[in-house]
């Protein structure tokens, strides 16, 4: 078509240019911002120890020891380790409820651990383990095994976990001849593809499945404990994580899972105990039960809040350490347990896990580990050195405590040397490295500690005097040495935490300037179109209505600036609905001041109230989506779960709403006189998919008892057919649009093509959203209707002449975009990776395929917030054309449509620009990985998707 002598490409190319600019900006900024820590390809070896200053004569191995017994860096304290990982184990799952203010139903379910910790105070202990964000399983496993701080970019690989290339605990185990047995979560196999002697991996991705992984582990765990063919056993249970994701922490499923674990752990401990006698299979076995991260009460994790980073670790050795060691244990956090016995809980950094396990097994610690050998875990196995105290230092008989301390100092010395070696190599090889001041400070601490070392090491032999004096002075000098090393290691960890993410400021700056430049282009294009419109119609352009321009600017600015604070990002949905309601109230005010009955405005306000409550309650998850209805009805009617009314509400109401949607489509279509044949195909196709969606829901619910065959069809076949019909309709409408040259009724044509596009997408989005889908889409349609209707006065006023003229007003477009944001949160999404509704990716499919499931997940995430609103932008134009009876020229319609698209794009681009500024400013913020970075990724993807969709839509509509 031609607008004022321009071809349709004249209107489309700005979209393409903007898409290009935005992609460039996002790419450059992301390269600078989401840089990974440089992974060093160096590995630790046994022979490295000769380079360390710690090879002093403190420990002369007796000649009869073999190399295997001796270990290579430290003296091995344990022979075998059983590591049981319970995914998403909250701290309060393990710690007794007496440690907390209120007793919650999920507490005190793992009684066996509490009992062991209180009864066997020196050999079993509960720790509060602190994970580093990002608290996703993959990152945590990587962090636990490498002893480093995995960075955020890996989160992007969560779909298909890549193998770890850095030096890690598992690699050290394998290369030093330890046999590793793995069972459970298949992420381990993805991370360590050829490290395990034997492995029993089970698929972890389907979150709806609570039992497959756990049952698999249970099947193999106990028999394996009786076998000799492993040195390290790793069992990873996933049920608690999945139960949290699907049902939340406060649910009967969660409690069942915990009780199941309790009985399994009881059996494991029994087996180990029974065989822990002299010469037994588990004489020197160390049991660790740990979580990889915590979870919020909604079952989410990924961020850096206390609930998510606080997990627990239970460690137990089956040989009691001597009583004098007890002074090592921290007794600052003690309470009586349920039986009134005193129980102390210490704190453990997950960063320290790799190096502590390496030290206990006598292995070299991973090259990139920056953790510290944990004193308390080390002390749990102290008994082993008892008999060797004399051999450790030939000259004197040492007390248990002093002997232990000497060993610990030795381990710490090697630990410090290894960390220093890594820090030195890292700052020498990586481009930006660490801040030189901090490096200097750390180096100073290290040299201070190491200069003391020879004194301490030699003092144990050379002192003369009464034995008691020597012992006291020895102990205190050892303690000083431990403190000096600890100070160094703690400051390294602090340095690494504060400065690890290596931001490339140049790239970030370039990306940001590119983004700013694109904003300028955006404004220029809108300006140009506005003047074009003006000259063409002799009417006012966008830039002439100052009031709406200023309020539009204010609205976008407030929303964009709200991203500068983490609290507003957390409550983004409420902020958006606050702004949306504000615009609605202003419209209501305007309408009343004209003394008209504000029907549409009141309806819109009512809808905003519903949306607002949906956003408030949408954060707590329920099964298969219908969270809003469920919570709302619980709130309003105080009905019990499982009552017949609720069943009707959650099962029948979505169907009724679905038929309302079909009826609405029928009404819209019936008024259209072009594309007659296609119209029927569209209607029949959409109704068919709606019926299939209904079938799918019936087969998922327990409303009726139906045969397995029908159930299978409903579960898997129906969704696939729905996807196929949607795709077919989409193709068909594109073809129709291509071959239809009817220029007579531009409005009709635009209307039918928009309807075709929306209804072909709607069925897929509906089935992915689950039962809340029809409700959300109905709200979208009615709210869209209200937005347009409430502005009709404005339109008709400006259409006073014979030939109607449309004038673009930015406010409805802003309302449109705010509505889209609200719907994103309303449908139970939020801007975090755990906010993705993974369950949706498995509707219609049982098995995981990265492209297929990724596509479904994208459609679910962005469907109702990006795809439908953007493709529906023409509705703003069409609906108001329906209200005015006058004819409007095609050029005018398309100029306005282009402006609407541009304004919508500008709003998204502005908010993303602010997100970029915010991420830039907050890049050292505590929550940068937990909150800002995921939000940035969502915004960036959203922007590119918006640009792409607008570009495609313009190709389609023009």
């Amino acid at each position: 078509m031609a607008v004022a002598g321009r071809s349709k490409w004249g209107l489309i190319w700005p979209f393409f240019v903007l898409l290009l600019f935005h992609s460039l900006a996002i790419y450059t900024f992301t390269r600078g911002f989401l840089l990974t820590r440089t992974e060093l390809a160096s590995f630790s070896h046994c022979s490295d120890l000769t380079n360390s200053p710690c090879s002093l004569a403190i420990y002369n191995p007796p000649p009869d020891e073999t190399a295997q017994d001796r270990g290579c860096w430290t003296r091995p304290a344990v022979d075998r380790v059983v590591i049981i990982v319970l995914d998403a184990l909250r701290f309060d799952f393990v710690a007794p409820s007496t440690f907390f203010k209120d007793k919650q139903p999920w507490m005190d379910k793992l009684r066996v651990l509490q009992k062991l910790a209180s009864e066997e105070g020196f050999s079993a202990r509960i720790f509060k383990a602190i994970a580093d964000p990002p608290t996703t399983s993959l990152q945590r496993l990587k962090g636990l095994t490498t002893g480093g701080l995995p960075t955020f970019i890996d989160v992007g690989n969560s779909f298909g976990a890549p193998a770890i290339v850095e030096d890690n605990l598992i690699h050290q185990l394998v290369s030093n001849g330890k046999r590793v047995l793995m069972m459970g979560d298949d992420t381990w196999v993805q991370l360590f593809p050829d490290h395990f002697n034997t492995s029993y991996p089970y698929p972890s991705f389907n979150v709806k499945d609570l039992d497959t992984v756990d049952n698999g582990v249970i099947e193999h765990l106990l028999p394996s404990l009786h076998r000799k063919d492993w040195d390290v056993l790793i069992a990873h249970f996933l049920g608690v994580d999945h139960a949290g994701h699907i049902f939340g922490v406060d649910s009967s499923q969660m409690i069942q899972k915990l009780e199941q674990y309790n009985s399994i752990l009881e059996e494991v401990v029994n087996v180990l105990k029974n065989q822990s006698g002299e010469g037994g299979l588990h004489e020197n076995t160390f049991l660790i039960v740990m979580g990889d991260h915590g979870q919020t009460t909604n079952g989410d994790h990924g961020g850096g809040t206390a609930e998510e980073v606080e997990t627990s670790l239970f460690a137990m050795s089956f040989q009691s350490p001597p009583a004098s060691i007890s002074s090592v244990f921290d007794s600052s956090f003690c309470h009586g347990d349920l039986d009134g016995q005193r129980l102390c809980i210490s704190t453990f950094e997950q960063l320290d896990f790799a190096v502590t396990i390496s030290a206990l097994l006598g292995l070299p610690s991973p090259f990139g580990s920056i953790g510290r050998v944990n004193a308390e875990l080390y002390a749990l196995n102290a008994r082993t050195w008892e008999g060797q105290a004399t051999s450790a230092s030939d000259c004197q008989l040492l007390s248990d405590l002093a002997a232990w301390k000497q060993n610990y100092v030795n381990a710490l010395c090697i630990n410090c040397w290894q960390v220093k070696r890594y820090i030195d190599l890292y700052s020498a090889t990586s481009v930006i490295g660490l801040p030189s001041e901090d490096l200097h400070h750390v180096a100073q601490l290290y040299s201070q500690a190491q200069t003391k070392w020879p004194d301490t090491a030699s003092s144990s032999c050379s002192r003369v005097g009464s034995p008691d004096n020597i012992l006291d002075s020895l102990e205190s000098s050892l303690q000083q040495q431990i403190d000096a090393y600890s100070e160094f290691l703690v400051s390294v960890a602090k340095l690494a935490r504060s400065a690890w993410t290596e931001f490339d400021l140049l790239y970030m700056g370039l990306g940001f300037s590119c983004m700013l430049f694109s904003l300028v282009i955006h404004l220029l294009v809108i300006r140009r179109l506005s003047t074009l419109c003006q000259s063409y119609n002799n009417s006012l352009g966008i830039f002439d209505n100052y009031f709406s321009l200023v309020s539009a600017f204010l609205l976008v600015a407030i929303r964009a600036a709200s991203f500068l604070s983490n609290s507003y990002i957390l409550t983004e949905g409420s902020v958006a609905s606050f702004l949306l309601s504000t615009t609605a109230i202003i419209r209501l005010w305007c309408s009343i001041s004209k003394w008209k009955f504000p029907r549409d405005e009141l309806l819109f306000l009512l809808l905003s109230t519903i949306i607002r409550h949906g956003i408030d309650t949408g954060m707590s998850k329920e099964t298969s989506g219908s969270s809003f209805l469920f919570n709302f009805s619980k709130l309003i009617f105080h009905i019990n779960e499982g009552g017949p009314f609720l069943m009707v509400l959650t099962d029948v109401l979505p169907m009724v709403l679905l038929s309302v949607l079909a009826f609405m489509l029928y009404r819209f279509l019936s008024g259209i006189s072009c594309w007659i044949h296609f119209k029927y195909v569209l209607f029949i196709g959409t109704v068919c998919s709606y019926m299939l969606i209904g079938l799918h829901w019936i087969s998922e619910s327990n409303l009726m008892h139906i045969s397995m065959r029908v159930q299978y069809t409903g579960r898997n076949l129906a969704p696939r057919v729905v996807y196929a019909i949607g795709f077919g309709l989409l193709l068909l409408s594109v073809l129709c649009q291509l071959f239809d040259n009817n220029r007579v009724q531009p409005t009709e044509r635009l209307k039918v093509s928009a309807l075709a596009l929306l209804s072909s997408w709607s069925s897929t989005i509906l089935i992915l959203l689950g039962r809340q889908g029809p409700f959300a889409i109905l709200i979208f349609i009615v709210a869209a209707w209200c937005i347009v209707r409430s502005w009709r006065e404005q339109w008709t006023e400006s259409n006073s002449r014979n030939m109607g003229v449309l004038i673009m007003n930015p406010i409805p477009v802003i309302q449109w975009s705010l509505l889209a944001v609200c719907l994103f949160f309303f449908t139970g999404h939020w801007c975090a990776f755990d906010g993705l509704r993974y369950g949706a990716a498995f509707i219609g499919f049982d098995h995981f395929n990265i492209i297929r499931q990724g596509l479904l997940l994208t459609i679910d995430t962005f469907g109702v917030s990006h795809i439908l609103p953007i493709l529906g932008i023409p509705l703003i134009i069409i609906l108001q054309l329906q209200n005015s009876k006058k004819n409007v020229s095609e050029d005018n319609i398309f100029l306005n449509l282009t402006q609407a698209f541009l304004i919508y794009g500008l709003i998204t681009a502005t908010t993303t620009t602010f997100m970029i500024i915010c991420v830039f400013i907050q890049r050292r913020h505590l929550m940068v990985w937990g909150l800002f970075a995921p939000k940035y990724v969502f915004d960036a993807v959203g922007l590119l998707l918006t640009d792409g969709l607008i570009f495609m839509a313009s190709l389609y509509y023009y």
Binding site: N566, Y568, S577, F578, I585, S593, W595, L605, T609
Partner: protein, 239 residues
Amino acid sequence: MTALGFVKLRMRCHRERRKEGVGMGDGDIAASTAIALHFLCALGLGAGYSLAQLKHHLSLVADPAQTLRFLLVVQGPVVIGIYSSVRRDREHCSYWKAVARGLFGLPVGAVLNAFGAIVLGAPVGIKYWPSTIYWSSLMSLFTFVPALCVFGLSKMDWQRILAHSIPKEIVDCVVSLPAQGAILGAWLGAWPMPLDWEKPWQEWPICVTYGAVAGYLFGMLISVVFVHVLRGQTHVKAE
């Protein structure tokens, strides 16, 4: 008097006034009256707040519902009493009728304000009900009641008040500027609520009340300035 009867009476009042051709400017008030009115309203609010704090040891942060109720009890008579005395159609509506209008308007305005607050995100749980009711009644005193006391149900006046953001008469200033200030202040006062400072005053409706009161007082200040400007204009006209 039933509400319906009251409305009918008002309409009659209004019609009569129209018939006699009472012009717009006739109901206007003197600048000094306007300033005194603002002063008294601010005084009432201040007195109410300090009385609550000193005599009953009530603070807005600790017990918002009781404090708001106390403020309402003190400020209600002040606002209704003062604004009724500057009612528009003094010949046909007695002082007590204006007072009755104000009393009638209090719950109506409260419902409107509560609805607005809930739409914008105020919590709806049962434990918030008392404070929401008292807060919206106080907002009603700031916004709806003065207008009803002064204008009654005159369509023309209401339309003028709602449509024109810049008032042209002193009485419009006195009614609309503090009201607009209170609404804007309450709107802005909601902003700190989501922040994670974990201060007790971030609870609903404490900071919104602070915002509303601050906006109300600021609106009065602006109103005083406007009154001065308008008086200058009328003086020029008169000369």
